[in-house]
Symmetry: C2
Subunit: 387 residues, 2 copies
Amino acid sequence: MARSKVYVASVGLTKVGDQWGKSLLDLAVEAARGAMKGAPRVKPQQVIVGNMFSAVGASQEHLGALVASALGLAGTPAFKVESACSSGGSAFHVAYSLVGAGALDSALVVGVEKMRDLEPEEVSEALAMAESAEYTQFVGATFAALNGLLARYYMEQYDVSRDELSAIPVIDHANAVAAEHAQFRRAITPEVVNRSAMVADPLRLFDCAPVGDGSAAVLLVGEAAASGAKGRLAEVLGGRVATGEFSVYERDDMLDFAATREAFKGAMAQAGLSPKKLRFAEIHDAFSVVGALALEAMGFSKRGRGAKDASDGMYRAGSELPINTFGGLKARGHPVGATGVYQVAEAYLQVTGQAGKNQVPGADYGVAHNIGGVDTTSVVHVLGRGA
Amino acid sequence: MARSKVYVASVGLTKVGDQWGKSLLDLAVEAARGAMKGAPRVKPQQVIVGNMFSAVGASQEHLGALVASALGLAGTPAFKVESACSSGGSAFHVAYSLVGAGALDSALVVGVEKMRDLEPEEVSEALAMAESAEYTQFVGATFAALNGLLARYYMEQYDVSRDELSAIPVIDHANAVAAEHAQFRRAITPEVVNRSAMVADPLRLFDCAPVGDGSAAVLLVGEAAASGAKGRLAEVLGGRVATGEFSVYERDDMLDFAATREAFKGAMAQAGLSPKKLRFAEIHDAFSVVGALALEAMGFSKRGRGAKDASDGMYRAGSELPINTFGGLKARGHPVGATGVYQVAEAYLQVTGQAGKNQVPGADYGVAHNIGGVDTTSVVHVLGRGA
């Protein structure tokens, strides 16, 4: 399909967390200006905003034109892309597809979410919109509750212990210590997870990604515009979006993340890359169990081994395939519609050698994996060191 | 840019209006199935949903995967595109761009909105999200209020009478009489507009598009998939999205719809077509004044003449350039995120000669024009009779 190579030319990130003093638009503009400053000669031909629930979080829609106009880019085509917690990944994918196909030579993708202005129960209601209003919401199942049931089933089915389930959050927190944009920069132990408050049995507070505000932006360029980019380039080697049967309880095998499997397979095939070549993976671990199942669906761990492998030392910094090198959803934070763009931006920093204290040595290739719902939409992109 | 010709192969429409018995998803599925039935051998490679405020209207996000899964298309990439009232047009534009660039060979675009489950003041709040939360909403300006101010200015500036302003709603209602999917199928006179309740001085009830539920779907195909389409094809000859300075009061000339001007110019240039070739136009007239300014921005009327020309008999059925051939936003209805897809579907029916009693004779070329905000985002597509 690709008629043009596609590069990430620059990125911009705000800190994730409590951003009481900044509006949704302030955050988006801060991240976008950061990305544009990194490639001042590139004028974005399109602005695509990834966001899930600005309507309930900030009484604001029409983010595409709002952000474009605030950036002085009035005139430029702009719109918002939404696919629940994978909105950022989907927004990036639309831009990647358009640049790759030659329809555009440059595009600015801005992921943004403002969650902290909402009360906790409002956040629960907003996140539940990733699931069916007529069924899942109707019976009162929150998003955490669904994932709690999944975690219970996973632990029973594969004899996964509490400490094993805690391994991915522990890795995330360890990686976030040096990550300046991360929400929680404090290392934890499995005991901390065990002692934390119960959210949805067996999931405890530290199994769950936190609520935070944040925005990430990436500037994509095709081959023609790449010459005007002054910074280091990361090439987007492949990408794929896949959907699954909508709700997890509709599936024959609830522990098989089929959408992630398909998206990963498709993205790697497009990249023409063996998974062995990957040196890091930014995975979507909104809940510890989700991270484990994602690692299994992508084939890094065998079925039932995701949490166990993490507990055995795989996936931590210095291992063969470190995950969530800036803290992942649990510790970098999960401003939902922005998360997929944070992941791509972090992958850019890794493959271009700009990850500072979080740098993975020899990070030639890496993958960014973003989920909406309980693996209902899965978005995978493969990045490599640019030419 | 275009590497493949792009065709609309089939369309599906629900009636616009009170759809108390059907959910948001029911409506989307009904329209989508209608479109898919028209081209049973075409499997959509992507599902793109245009919608503005399902979050507040139906407590539902993640519409892409929700609709794809309900259609039996789980696996297929899917997401939602939003740009306020031009969400449907933007969703169509993304699909058109991807098929035209050769990234996809087929795509299903579904516009859907459920407005009638909301109380009137909730609808006002939802529509106001098209405007800035920090400025326009903060000072309490509703969307109707902004357009009322614009209408007053327009009437003062160009000496436009009340009856002249009523001309476009009158045309819309006349055209909707024979349109089965239209919300209000009753002809009106300027007196009816004059007698109707004041909404935002000088705009009265019949100056304003009604609140309604509805869904429209179109199936797009590239050259390869076109051979599998059994029905008549309409070719999408050109399309463009443009944005303007975000809020109307930020602009040097508030009566110049610059985004519409740019989008129309760009779409016609891509189509390589003189505006004289157009035989009909589906224009965005959420308010009578908006329709008038749109006709001026596209150059069909001179500055200040949009409403006057309509009053003089231009634009009505049987004229050289009939507008809103199935009733437009005022009478077909304006389920906001769906409207842009209704317009394209109606243009398809016209150029393929399937418009029944609403058929424009010799409708070889037509244009669909969709606005988000007060001409903040403008989306124009040109359709022609397929090969």
